[in-house]
């Protein structure tokens, strides 16, 4: 470590959202929006099941994962009961609403209006047989991982 190294402020962030559950998507959006609020450039890159968050038909149907999610403090078998995920989703949406955090669709509009960039991952889009038209109008482009790195020049890359 060089001595007297001064800490540089964060100027750009590139946030990868790879999961499609409600609790998998929100952290990336909160971080991207929070970056814009502080004057930090932000771009979001949705990959694998994260694509659900920007797909027109899926964005309003994201659910909390109640199975395989130790943070739920719930036995796996209980989490697998019918209606459990819907109930957990309802509860989380209620609590998130209390904090004035918007639903995903509106949150993406806000981030877009705030100057944040929104991208889908081409490999995932191809894998799920989707097209550009399947995505929300706020999606700037569908790009390759190479283009993602190009666009992330000088940014901190955060994987969620």
């Amino acid at each position: 470590m060089p001595e007297n190294k001064t800490r540089q402020p964060v100027e750009r962030v590139s946030i990868v959202v790879s999961r499609g559950s409600l609790e998998g998507v929100y952290p990336g959006l909160i971080m991207a929006n929070g970056a814009r609020m502080e004057g930090i450039e932000a771009s979001l890159f949705f990959t694998f099941f994260g694509l659900d968050a920007i797909a027109k038909k899926r964005v309003d149907r994201l659910k909390v994962a109640t199975v395989g999610n130790p943070g739920m403090h719930m036995p796996t078998l209980l989490g697998a009961l019918p209606g459990m995920s819907a109930f957990a989703t309802f509860m989380m949406k209620k609590e998130i609403g209390k904090l004035d955090i918007p639903p995903i669709r509106e949150f993406l509009e806000i981030i877009h209006d705030a100057g944040g960039e929104i991208y889908g991952c081409k490999a995932s889009v191809d894998m799920f047989h989707l097209k550009k038209e399947d995505f929300l109008p706020q999606v700037d482009d569908i790009i390759t991982v190479g283009e993602f790195y190009e666009k992330s020049a000088g940014a901190q890359i955060i994987f969620t």
Binding site: I30, R36, M37
Partner: protein, 105 residues
């Protein structure tokens, strides 16, 4: 305690560099802070946001979140970012003589 020399007065600042006492604030002070923050001339739209924030702060003891400003003040997200570029959260509160908003959205 840091202070700010402004319009012939010395005002106390909090740890974030915002006015420590909202009652030290007036419109002339806001104009001067805006100039120093690189915002330039304050327009009617700026004042709508500033007065909204001060009203909420006076009624509730804390400045509103950005989300609330865009929902209730009349300035939407796009215009808020145009009015207060490079960090509307801090900039608008600073010019309004209020503490930094303590909210993640």
């Amino acid at each position: 305690m840091a202070t700010l020399e402004i319009l012939g007065k010395t005002l106390e600042l909090d740890k974030d560099g915002h006015l420590a006492n909202p009652n030290d604030w007036n419109e002339a002070t806001a104009r001067e802070i805006a100039t120093r923050e690189g915002i330039g001339e304050l327009t009617d739209q700026h004042w709508v946001v500033i007065h909204f924030m001060r009203n909420v702060n006076q009624l509730e003891g804390a400045p509103p979140s950005i989300r609330r400003i865009t929902k209730e003040s009349g300035a939407d997200t796009k215009s808020l970012y145009q009015l207060f570029p490079n960090g509307p959260a801090r900039k608008a509160a600073k010019i309004a003589g209020l503490p930094k908003p303590n909210s993640c959205v």
